[in-house]
């Protein structure tokens, strides 16, 4: 980290102090609110990805947000939350590059606020006799910056005391030490985002290879952790059918079906304006060169017939292995994120 911006409100927070001790050479610049640095117009997300700064901030307002209707992996109530905005990796299909003006990382250090909100929702769900799931890793990767944030270790500590609530840690990271260092928790799903190897190599820049992710899943499965398979977004390409077949085979050649909590898949979809912003950042990216169709709900996606066929194919591949009860056809909360 060359430059670290620190909100005045969290200058003395213990996590801020620990961070600054770890990066003594970084330039530390104060700000009143992270939005001053993060939100102004006239920023170039693509350029900033070269060397993002870190902004240390306090999360205010609503700490956990409901997922869009239809998004879930079993429990009736579903929420997501983000201790970070932006991601170490640079996946070309990522909606964050169209949602945020800045590629700088915003790290919310007041985890206590997340825990309170989670405990509140978990208690409400328990009272109502309903299951509840909390998803981490939509505005960021849950574990990719663990060495800086210590988030994984902390959140696992909290969920030890919340056995009735389910936590999904969504990641592409193979930095899984915080999980390996402890006993597996029954109410935690470590969910890996996956695309076929050739797709991952071409568009998931800076992310661990598919092979390494599968090795990490196997390692965790052997230690008793529940694994989530997240095949979204589905990327259409010439070898889609065989590519996804090979992907599913590669996963299950290493990860026992019994260790898989759930598998989800979802289409590549963007709000129209978001797609336009991303395309302007990467005008020569082949992912955005194929025809997109604007749907009635304002989302741009592959032509409907094609999308249906992609979803059916991947749904069948997963159901053959896991049975349909563990396979969920989901739409990631990108629309909710865009509108919040």
């Amino acid at each position: 980290m060359d430059t670290i911006y620190v909100e005045e409100a969290v200058r003395d927070h213990v996590r801020t102090r620990e961070l600054l001790q770890r990066f003594p050479k970084a330039a530390v610049l104060p700000c009143d609110s992270y939005g001053e640095v993060f939100n102004p117009h006239g920023q170039d997300f693509r350029l900033q990805k070269k060397n993002p700064a870190l902004i240390v901030a306090e999360k205010r307002g609503t700490m956990v947000l409901p997922t869009p209707p239809g998004y879930g992996i079993g429990p009736k109530r579903n929420f997501y939350f983000s201790h970070l905005l932006n991601c170490l990796y640079d996946c070309r299909y990522c909606f964050l590059q169209g949602m945020f003006r800045s590629a700088n990382y915003v790290w919310f250090v007041n985890y206590e606020g997340f825990w309170s909100a989670i405990e509140e929702q978990a208690a409400a769900a328990k009272t109502a006799g309903q299951g509840v799931c909390f998803f981490s890793g939509y505005d960021c990767d849950s574990l990719a910056m663990e060495s800086v944030t210590g988030f994984g270790a902390d959140v696992l500590d909290r969920f030890v005391d919340l056995p009735s609530a389910l936590l999904e840690l969504r990641t592409k990271s193979v930095g899984i030490r915080c999980l390996k260092e402890r006993e597996a928790l029954d109410n935690v799903v470590v969910a890996f985002s996956l695309t076929p190897a050739e797709v991952a190599a071409a568009v998931e820049h800076k992310a661990p290879s598919l092979e390494r992710r599968i090795a990490a899943m196997r390692d965790l499965a052997e230690r008793g952790w529940k694994i989530g398979l997240r095949l979204d977004p589905l990327i259409d390409y010439a070898d889609f059918s065989e590519g996804y077949r090979r992907l599913v085979e590669a996963i299950f050649s290493e990860v026992p079906e019994s260790s898989v909590h759930s598998a989800t898949f979802g289409p590549l979809r963007f709000p129209k304006e978001m797609l336009s912003r991303i395309t302007k950042l990467y005008p020569q990216e082949k992912l955005f060169a194929v025809p997109f169709e604007l749907r009635a709900d304002g989302l741009a996606s592959y032509p409907e017939e094609r999308e249906t066929s992609l979803r059916a194919h991947v749904g069948d591949l997963l159901a053959e292995r896991l049975g349909s009860e563990r396979v969920f056809d989901c739409v990631a909360p990108v629309e909710a994120a865009e509108n919040r």
Partner: protein
């Protein structure tokens, strides 16, 4: 760099190929903003250009001659704040910078203090994104040596000369950024050279995007596409042809 004709309102220098320009704004935010705007009009740089403000500043504790980049610019008069975004790895270390209207021996903001950045930055950031607008200062006075005693033309020249290798290195990195941004698009206006139809402004944009997409999906054979225009008399027809070309081009990976 070569000095431009003397009838300019500010001294202006340009490289032989006119890809690098220097203007000496003089002291103060108004001069700095006006000189930036003037240079933009005079040099008419591409939208991908980078803008760098270089000068001297006070600092409460840094050694004289140290160089810093502004990571936060504060206008002391209005309390407006800007954050230039840094993306190179060769930039001088960042510090807070406060622009004041009068020379001062105080150091409001606790970092760099000077008189131009709050004029330069908002002007230049209308011309380029915040990563391509930077402010770099050499420390000319500090709490021990106040500006009245410290700043002489000879000393300023010596500090600047000593800073030049690092500054030029940083300028090279900014130029690389400018080239990268300039190369993002796909300029295939040549495809229209053989065409006999006209495009409206909107159609031209659509045409360029379609060509860009074709390019991304395996390239555009200019000769073949040129041939496709035979008998095409309208822009709308031309766009339809390009869309047809795109229809069955899947993505190939690996």
């Amino acid at each position: 760099m070569k000095r431009q004709p003397d009838d300019r309102p500010w001294p202006v220098y340009a490289s032989e190929d006119e890809t690098q320009w220097l203007i000496v704004s003089g002291i103060g935010r108004v001069a700095s903003a006006a000189a930036t705007g003037y240079l933009a009009a005079l040099a008419a740089p591409p939208r991908s250009a980078c803008w760098l403000n270089f000068g001297i500043a006070g600092h409460p504790s840094l050694e004289l001659g140290e160089m810093r980049r502004a990571g936060k610019v504060i206008d002391a008069a209005t309390q407006r704040v800007w954050y230039p975004a840094e993306v190179t790895r060769t930039a001088p270390k960042a510090d807070v910078l406060t622009t004041v209207d009068q020379p001062s021996s105080d150091f409001p903001g606790g970092g760099l203090v000077e008189m131009e950045a709050a004029g330069f930055f908002p002007t230049a950031s209308r011309l380029a994104t915040r990563e391509r607008v930077q402010v770099v200062k050499v420390v000319s006075d500090n709490a021990q040596e106040t500006f009245e005693k410290s700043i002489t033309p000879a000393r300023v020249s010596a500090w600047v000369a000593a800073s030049l290798p690092d500054l030029l290195n940083y300028a090279d990195a900014l130029r690389a950024i400018a080239r990268e941004v300039g190369d993002r698009g796909c300029d295939r206006g040549d495809l229209l050279d053989v065409a006999e139809f006209r495009l409206t402004v909107t159609q031209r944009l659509q045409f360029e995007r379609l060509v860009e997409r074709l390019d991304a999906l395996g390239g555009v054979d200019a000769d073949r596409l040129g041939g496709l225009w035979n008998g095409v008399t309208s822009g709308r027809e031309a766009l339809r042809i390009l869309e047809g070309e795109l229809a069955d081009r899947p993505i190939h990976f690996g």
